[in-house]
């Protein structure tokens, strides 16, 4: 048997596969698919300090080999989340990553500090990249803003901080460098690409929020490019995602330089995807004659 574990910022993941934030709830409804204890890590849909309703519908639209979403991150708010959801996440077994997003530096800090205080979380992921907020601001698309958030969060928590980067930039690898300098313990990439669709019947934008984020297999070549170019430039690990639909796709990310991978949109298409990806990666590594998943990380770089 090969060793499937990987390490991110001192935290050992039993395998390199986790859900992408906002795409798979490890709740009762999902108990019939596979046990969440099989995952490499668990993560929540990004949580804000205060409750938010999310965007008006339509919130999603299918596009060629992908989908647009403008969900707007509905949130029950930190307090209720910590009370109702976190204990369940913690009880599942795998390391717990908590995805948070703030609307101000102060809020980022307050969120991170509160998460730290729970003592039930292994890592915190900063969703710096959702392009759907009414504020229209993408932290990770501005070097100074990105740097400031990461640096101030790092100050208020001992938890390893993962910065989730936006691909809506000139060069995501440069933003990864900025995040690393500011003290991030890992980066995750990519979040969705700004896109939109127009209804030629009504002649209006389809999404309630007008613009949305593109995800799914359509973006995979772009995400692979992001991971590949970033790997050369930073020393902290990368959690790779964007269009993973099969274990082969996940292997592509590992070879490009990702230490772990997240499955997003494909969970909607096939709720067993993550289990299949976990098994497929192990099989590939074994067949290729390696003894550990860690052996294949970044191999395409040479």
């Amino acid at each position: 048997m090969i060793d499937t574990s990987v390490e991110i910022a001192g935290v050992t993941l039993p395998n390199p596969v986790l859900p992408a934030s906002g795409t798979y709830e490890v709740d009762e409804v999902h108990a019939g698919f596979f046990s969440p204890s099989e995952l490499g890590a668990v993560i929540n849909k990004t949580i804000f300090m205060n409750p938010r309703p999310g965007n008006p519908p339509p919130r999603i639209w299918e596009t060629p080999c992908g989908m647009l979403n403008a969900i707007g991150i509905p949130s029950e708010g930190l307090e209720r989340f910590l009370a109702d959801q976190l204990p369940r996440l913690r009880s599942l077994g795998p390391p717990v990553i908590l995805s948070i997003a703030g609307n101000s530096l102060q809020e980022w800090q307050d969120l991170a500090a509160a998460v730290d205080r729970t003592g039930s979380v292994d890592m915190v992921e900063l969703d710096l990249s959702c392009p759907n907020l009414e504020e229209g601001f993408i932290w990770a698309a501005d070097e100074a803003a990105l740097s400031r958030v990461v640096a101030s969060v790092v100050k208020v928590t001992r938890l390893p901080v993962i910065s989730k980067l936006s691909p809506n930039v000139r060069d995501i690898s440069e933003m990864a460098v900025v995040a690393e300098r500011a003290g991030t313990a890992a980066v995750s990439m990519v979040n969705s690409y700004q896109g939109m669709a127009i209804d030629i019947g009504t002649r209006k934008p389809i999404l309630g929020n007008i613009t949305g984020g593109l995800t799914g297999p359509a973006i995979r070549p772009l995400a692979i490019h992001g991971v590949f170019t970033t790997f050369k430039k930073i020393t902290v690990p990368i959690i790779g995602m964007g269009g993973i639909a099969t274990w082969q796709d996940a292997v592509e990310f590992l070879l490009a330089g990702a230490t772990a991978v997240a499955v997003g949109t494909q969970n909607f298409v096939n709720p067993l995807t993550m289990k299949e990806v976990i098994e497929g990666i192990a099989g590939y590594v074994e067949e290729a004659g390696f003894s550990s998943v860690r052996d294949i990380i970044g191999l395409a770089q040479e």
């Binding site: 999310g54 965007n55 519908p57 989908m67 969900i71 799914g216 909607f268």
Partner: protein
């Protein structure tokens, strides 16, 4: 625990075109056919490749636990449903289900169904169950013309009374099926009305509900990616209170007073 949705292969047993726009689809699947309850739906994907990417939601019109079959009734709308139409018996398809909240409350003497087009599919399982429990079933089918009336053969055997209204009068009442409902409510003690397939009828039922004449319920449709509360894509505005329900998780049927139509 058998009620949890599962992701399974199903085999197409029958794919019968009904008129040029409808498809009656019979699938064999041994698990979901046992666990699904009235009011629930499934997601289906029945084509190779990544385009179309997302599975499509359909009400489980009938489930036969002994035969291990599920019956769907599909209106051909776009690309996904066109691909369903080209299915051949023997083909394997992927389904996730049962999804959505089952309808558990049958504590009423009678129910009425006001449905239009493929919306009829949403209430067949419910009508069957109601009838089996000895509840009165009053069904009003609406269509543009006689040739567009669907699911009648499934609803007729379980209906205490089945009424038809067509826009062009080619069968049954010429005019609004909601008139038939109003008339029914005058004639019979009906305390629950389920509607599906027409926003106009839904508004009518909402009005009746608001006036306290019946308790109204509506089956909602809409774009879905996951069908089980993951994507938050299927939001529908809550009435009054603000915020949104998720059609897939909180519905697909709602007390009609609680949603903005």
């Amino acid at each position: 625990m058998g009620r949890h949705p599962v992701y399974r292969s199903a085999t197409v047993l029958e794919a019968k075109e009904e008129g040029r726009d409808y498809l009656d689809l019979l699938l064999r699947e041994p698990e979901i056919s046992q666990t699904t309850r009235p009011g629930q739906f499934l997601m289906i994907r029945a084509w190779p490749g990544v385009d179309p990417m997302l599975p499509r939601p359909f009400d489980i019109m009938q489930a036969d636990p002994r035969e291990q079959t599920l019956r769907l009734f599909v209106k051909v709308e776009g690309r996904g449903t066109a691909l369903l139409k080209s299915l051949k018996p023997g083909t394997e398809v992927k389904i996730t289900g049962p999804l959505g909240r089952p309808i558990e409350d049958f504590s009423c003497p009678s129910m009425a169904f006001l449905v239009r087009g493929a919306g009829a599919a949403a209430v067949v399982h419910l009508a069957e169950e109601a009838r089996a429990r000895g509840i009165g079933v009053y069904t009003i089918l609406s269509a543009s013309a006689a040739s567009r009336i669907v699911c009648r053969k499934y609803l007729e055997p379980v209906s205490t009374e089945l009424l038809i209204a067509t826009d062009d009068g080619s069968e049954g009442y010429e005019g609004l099926a909601s008139d038939l409902l109003d008339d029914l409510l005058r004639r019979k003690t009906v305390d629950r009305v389920y509607t599906c397939g027409s926003r106009r009828f839904a508004r009518h039922v909402q009005r009746l509900d608001r006036e306290g004449r019946i308790k109204g319920f509506v089956f909602l449709e809409g774009l879905m990616a996951c069908g089980m509360g993951d994507c938050h894509g299927c939001a529908v505005q809550k009435n009054g209170q603000g915020g949104y329900f998720l059609v897939c998780r909180d519905g697909p049927h709602f007390p009609i007073a609680e949603v903005v139509l």
